[in-house]
Symmetry: C2
Subunit: 206 residues, 2 copies
């Protein structure tokens, strides 16, 4: 912004930018890249458009992130506490595990620090094989695998897979496609609508 304003107003000061905290600029580029990935898709997002959105020289994006793949990687990596909270939720006592999982999902999508990352990950996993593999590993090993831990019956993996499928379908309806009624319900109502199904998948009769 400062950069563009200088140009626009045509200040006497040289066009070369002042130093700014590297982390700040990097974060701004990542955020801009994520938005472009979401709106334009992986192929549609260009270094130039990302730079424009982050208000930065296109070559600078290339300086921070050598390739589009590394940008995509940075844009789809969740903060560590998200993974921690996931672990906590899927390790909850069996009787309340369904409730805890759906609460975790809903609150993560609502949080500004994780929602856009989930959004970008879900979308880019369809095109980019690397992101897909990341998501597959995360879902399969961490989620489906871990959720199934300490499930009493057989069908452990099937049960966890069904839990995951219900959650993914909910996310797509509510957060990505924004289909009514799931998109406009309150978090509370969504949780109470879905939790029983998850719980039945976890330890109900099949």
């Amino acid at each position: 912004m400062m950069r563009l304003m200088k140009k626009a107003i045509g200040e006497a000061e040289s066009g070369r930018g002042p130093r700014e905290d590297r982390g700040v600029i990097s974060a701004r580029i990542i955020s801009a890249a994520r938005d472009e990935f979401i709106e334009q898709g992986v192929s549609g997002a260009t270094f130039r458009a990302i730079a424009r959105r982050a208000d930065v020289d296109p070559a600078l994006v290339h300086y921070y992130f050598a390739s589009k793949e590394r940008l995509l990687d940075a844009a789809t990596t969740p903060p560590p506490d998200f993974l921690d909270n996931t672990q906590t939720a899927i390790s909850a006592p069996l009787a309340i595990r369904g409730q805890r999982i759906i609460e975790h999902v809903v609150s993560s999508w609502a949080a500004p620090s994780t929602g856009p990352i989930l959004y970008a990950t879900f979308l880019c996993a369809n095109v980019d094989e690397r992101t897909r593999e990341k998501l597959r590993a995360s879902m399969s090993a961490n989620f489906i695998g871990a959720t199934s831990q300490r499930l009493p019956q057989r069908d452990r993996l099937l049960r966890a897979g069904l839990v995951s499928s219900q959650i993914v379908g909910l996310c797509w309806h509510r957060y990505i496609w924004k289909l009514d009624p799931l998109a406009t319900m309150s978090d509370r109502d969504v949780i109470s609508a879905v939790a029983p199904t998850l719980q039945k998948y976890l330890n109900g009769r099949m």
Copy 2:
């Protein structure tokens, strides 16, 4: 193919192509476009790559379909009998409606005439606003709306939305992300695993 062979072998016959049934070429272009959309995304699919895959001159793609949007439209339009079968499934007697719906979904994804179209539609709806609107209309009005018809209780739309969400989550796991165990189970097992949930959403206690 004939075209390329002529070039490769260098026959005396002129390079200009012979007549071919317009429908055949058009269908080949649509199919090639769909594959490119699936593999490369909407922005990543190029007229040239589509033409190469369909073994056709790039300008010919432009001759048949003036814009990428019209190609995308053609590639994501399901055959009419798919819509008919959907109507039939969601109009089944309430007691067996869940079963009928999941059977319809699974068999549609398995069929070569509809599976790739569903695949492309699911993927492209994320980027292309027009496809998204098509899917939203199709899901929202035709599916969620119609499924809720003749449901006894209140919560009609919520029930239909939950049915839809479970189905979408299943599709994503099984057909797009190909996550185990849902991806490798037989159609029969998937149907019997999911049908009870759908039925509970339709007319169970909430």
